[in-house]
Structure formats: C-alpha cells, structure tokens
C-alpha cells in the first residue's frame, strides 16, 4: 500500500472512536505494546532521538529499494505514536518517505503530539526518518 492509502486506513480506524479519547489512547497504547522492537544491538545511545522526557531509538535500513524502520521508546504512548509512523513510512520508497506530509496525525486528533513544545521526541523522530530516507536517496 502507498503511504496515502495507509494514512487513509488509519484515519478510518480512528474515526470509529468518535469523541472517545480514552478509547483512542487505549488503542495507541495497544499499538505501542505490539510494536516490533528494534534489535537490541541498534538500541545504542547514538541512535537515541531525544525529546525532553521520553526517548526514541530509531534504526533504518534499505531492503530491495525500500526503507525499513524499526524503533522503540521508553514511554508507551510515544511508542504507540512511533508504531503508527512505522506503519505509514516503513517498507516505502525513500523518495516517498521524504515527500510524505503525514496529514493523518492531525486527522486522527493527535496533532498535539506534533507540537514542538511537546516533549516526546515524535517531531524529531519524523525529521530523522526523513533524513535517513534522504541519505538513502543520495547514496
């Protein structure tokens, strides 16, 4: 599926919750728990994307022309958000990752997590995902 198709799928999935923020957050927490973890060997300090409070580890590799992301976080809500980002951006072509505008985050009512004042490292993670994609594109 293309990035846009997956985004659409996620938006539809979250529409089911309507105004039920608790259901939405429980879903994010479940997604966090299901996140395939990054290999321990990649969970090194130099791979940490630092938010002020929670940490995110990100690893990317190129497999058959597509970028594969694995990641982890020490906070479960952040991890859920990370799981969503991976679902959208992993196994995609680097050029598509670079140009993705990720409108789904706003559409599912989680824009607050993209605020630069938000201390969860998600904004930095998206930036790093795009930088990694750009690096593969130029290599």
């Amino acid at each position: 599926m293309s990035i846009q198709e997956i985004e659409k799928e996620i938006v539809e999935e979250f529409e089911l919750f309507g105004d039920d923020w608790e259901g939405k957050y429980e879903h994010i927490i479940d997604l966090g728990k299901s996140l395939p973890k990054i290999k321990e060997e990649y969970k090194t300090d130099d791979r940490i994307i630092k938010g002020c409070q929670s940490k995110v580890w990100l690893h990317s590799e190129l497999k058959e022309g597509k970028i594969v992301f694995t990641a982890d976080s020490d906070a479960i809500i952040t991890k859920g958000m990370v799981a969503l980002m991976i679902r959208v951006l992993s196994n995609q072509k680097p050029e598509d990752v670079v140009s993705a505008n990720l409108e789904f985050i706003d559409k599912i009512g989680l824009k607050e997590h993209l605020s630069p004042t938000r201390a969860n490292g998600l904004v930095s993670m998206i930036k790093q995902m795009k930088l990694d994609a750009l690096a593969f594109l130029n290599s």
């Binding site: 923020w21 608790e22 957050y25 429980e26 927490i29 002020c52 409070q53 929670s54 940490k55 020490d74 906070a75 479960i76 809500i77 952040t78 201390a119 969860n120």
Partner: protein, 401 residues
C-alpha cells in the same frame, strides 16, 4: 482556615476548561496562577502610571518611581529584610548568576552544593569553577530524600568558600534544615546562598533570622508575573558584591575615565527594570499577606497530607521522600509506567502536573529514574481537586497496565 472558594474567585484562569474538563492546576511548583489583583496591578500601571523610573522629573515618572520603590519595601517586609538589601532581578536563576559572577573568590576555590539542587543552582557555580579552576563539591541525598548534613563539615577545606543550597527541593518538596547548614557553614566563614524559589510561596521566611548572605526567589512562583525575581543580600554585601553587569540607572557620574556607582541596591539593577512585573510582585505579596502565609501553609499541608494518603492507597504508586515534612510538593512514579505517559493521560482529564526531570538531572540519576510525576499545590487548590486527580490517575493506571 482560609476561604478557598473566595480565593478561587480571584483567579480568572481557574474557570478555564482543558480538554473539555474543568482545569485542575497542580503544577504550581513550576509557576502559580495569578489573582486578578496582580493582573489589575499590571493593567493599572500601563493605564495610569507608565513612565520610566528613577530619571524623570515629570509626574508620571515620579508616580512610577514611587510605586516601584514602594514595591521594594513590600518585598523587604515580606522576608524580614531591610529595603536597601533588595535587588530586583529577572528571577531566581538571574539572582544566582549575579551572585556567582560577583563574588570575588580566589582562583581554585571550592563551592559546596547539594545533590538535589535545581540546575539553576548548579550551572552558575559550575561556570565559575570552569573559569577559575574551582571545584564543585556535592552533599549527597539519602534514599529517603534527606541531606546527610553531617557530611557538610567533612567536605569543607581551607579552599571552600561558598555553600549554595536550596531551602526546599523543587522535585521532592523536602524542606532542608538550612538553619543547621548555615550554622555549620558560618563556623568556617563560608558565604551562604539559599535558593528560596520553592520556599517563599509556602512558608514564613525571615532572612535575618536565617543568617545567610544571600537569599533568592522568583516572583512567578508566588502569584506574581514571570520575569520578576528577588536577590536579597545581607547589607554588608551591598556595594561589596562585584558588578557583573552594568548600565544606565546604576551610576552617580560617568566619564570615559571613571564611573561612580550609586551606593545602594540600585547599582545591581542596570537598565529599565521590569516595572509592571515588580508592581505585580508587590501586589501578589500583599495578596498573600492578606490571606496569611501561615494559613496558606496550613491549607497546603492539608492538601499534601490528603493527597499522600490517597496516593499511598494505590499499590502501583511509589512516592519519593514519602515520610518527610514537605512543602506543597508530592513527587511519585507509577510502577511500570513512564512519567510522560502518566502526565499525558492526566492532561486529557484536565489535570496539569509536571513530569520529567524537573531540571534536577543529578537527582534523577541518584534515584536511577528518567523523571517523576509531580503534583504541587497552591492556596487555591481543594480536596475535591485531589479526588478528581486520584480518580483520573486510577483510570490512567488502568489504561497503561
């Protein structure tokens, strides 16, 4: 007893909703909300008296100057100081920087701090040490949150010149035995700075009785506008503390060869000060006086005690410095949950708490945790709000487990 409903009516922001829920503001250790009396003082200044101070001969300037100097008196009385010992600054951090940069210590001096200091009472001293081959020495924190004050004496050498210590820990709420620490420090002629950022809003302070050299605090943590702070220095320091910054308003005469500075505290206030903020600060302290700091302390203690009892009933909750006398702060973690997750969910329930390292990374390293969830109270908080908080916390724990 204080009339909390009457007090709450003075704080417009408490009527706000957050995420559709009534705001429960438990982040008072970071900054307090402002009563309309303080907001009005700022508005009134700009509506009626705005002019630059200490300079003009015109009416507005004279009025503004009088209000500003009146504020200095209000502040000095509030902490048992003399008016000429009060320097207005931008906040606690600013005050500590002025002191650290202004003490004429010999190269290689040692400065003693504690493991529970806020970064603002670490970094200015660290900076001094880097520039002057100095050494920072640290009184460790016991696992229960107390300082091992017996260690102070063993850390002191002939090179030790300063003790800088927080009165109340911003992270744990622990009240440090500053009287005892000052007494020991003074036997060795150390210069003592006490960081009062977290104590001034919660207890009666008498700087003369304490006997430190410097006592500093922020206005915004005691219901005043941000960008206001106080540096109290014992009067023997006024004029003796070296100027680390200079400018207009601090001088008697200036020529390119030599400048004579004014004698009083004004020499430490270069440039146009935060006039409206200082007037707001005076208004805030008057407000606190009208209610009575002892009554406020008692009310906050009731909240703290009740919140502690309720939190201790939740098996997943671990409170730090659980059994100590504390000032309006309760810091805890939920087993198996990151403080960020807890804080994020509490916010969805309309509850503002602080999460993270609280700018005390060495203290977090000491407990080997990434941070805590901190609820901190003020005079306008209620037992009912504690109930709302506990209920929301229980729901959050359920979601996270």
């Amino acid at each position: 007893m204080i009339d909390v409903n009457k007090i709450r009516a003075d704080f417009p922001i408490l009527n706000r909703k957050v995420n559709g829920k009534p705001l429960v503001y438990f982040d008072n250790g970071a900054t307090t909300q402002k009563p309309k009396q303080v907001i009005d003082a700022v508005v009134n200044y700009y509506s009626e008296h705005n002019a630059n101070i200490h300079r003009g001969v015109h009416t507005l300037s004279r009025e503004a100057t009088e209000l500003f100097e009146e504020a200095r008196k209000t502040v000095s009385k509030f902490i048992g100081a003399e008016t000429e010992e009060i320097v207005f600054t931008a906040g606690t951090t600013d005050s500590i920087n002025i002191v650290a940069a202004g003490l004429e210590l010999p190269v290689g001096s040692e400065i003693i701090i504690t493991e529970m200091e806020h970064h603002s009472n670490i970094l200015p001293w660290q900076l001094w040490c880097e520039k002057n081959e100095g050494k920072l020495k640290v009184i460790p924190v016991e696992v229960d949150g107390t300082l091992d004050i017996g260690l102070l004496e063993s850390l002191i050498t002939p090179q030790t010149k300063v003790l800088a210590v927080t009165h109340v820990s911003n992270t744990l709420g622990v009240i440090n035995p500053v009287d005892a620490l000052i007494k020991i420090a003074k036997q060795y002629d150390l210069i003592v700075l006490v960081d009062g950022a977290q104590s001034v809003p919660h207890m009666k302070i008498d700087v003369k009785e304490l006997g430190a050299d410097f006592y500093v605090f922020s206005g915004h943590k005691v219901y005043a506008p941000t960008g206001t702070g106080v540096l109290w220095m014992n009067k023997q320091w006024v004029g003796k503390l070296k100027l680390s910054r200079s400018g207009g308003g601090t001088i008697k005469t200036v020529s390119f060869d030599k400048t004579d500075y004014v004698e009083g505290a004004l020499r430490y206030e270069p440039g146009t000060p935060n006039i409206e903020g200082v007037l707001g600060l005076a208004s805030a302290l008057k407000y606190v006086n009208e209610i009575g700091i002892e009554k406020i302390a008692k009310h906050e203690h009731t909240l703290l005690k009740y919140a502690t009892e309720r939190l201790n009933e939740i098996p997943e909750v671990e409170i730090y410095a659980n059994h100590l006398e504390k000032a309006a702060v309760i810091s805890f973690n939920v087993k198996g949950a990151h403080p960020f997750d807890v804080g994020t969910l509490l916010d969805k329930y309309g509850i503002a708490v602080r999460t993270g390292h609280h700018c005390t990374q060495p203290l977090m390293a000491r407990y080997k945790i990434p941070g805590t969830v901190r609820a901190s109270f003020a005079m306008y908080n209620t037992l009912e709000e504690v109930n709302i908080f506990i209920e929301a916390l229980q729901k959050s724990i359920k979601m996270l487990s």
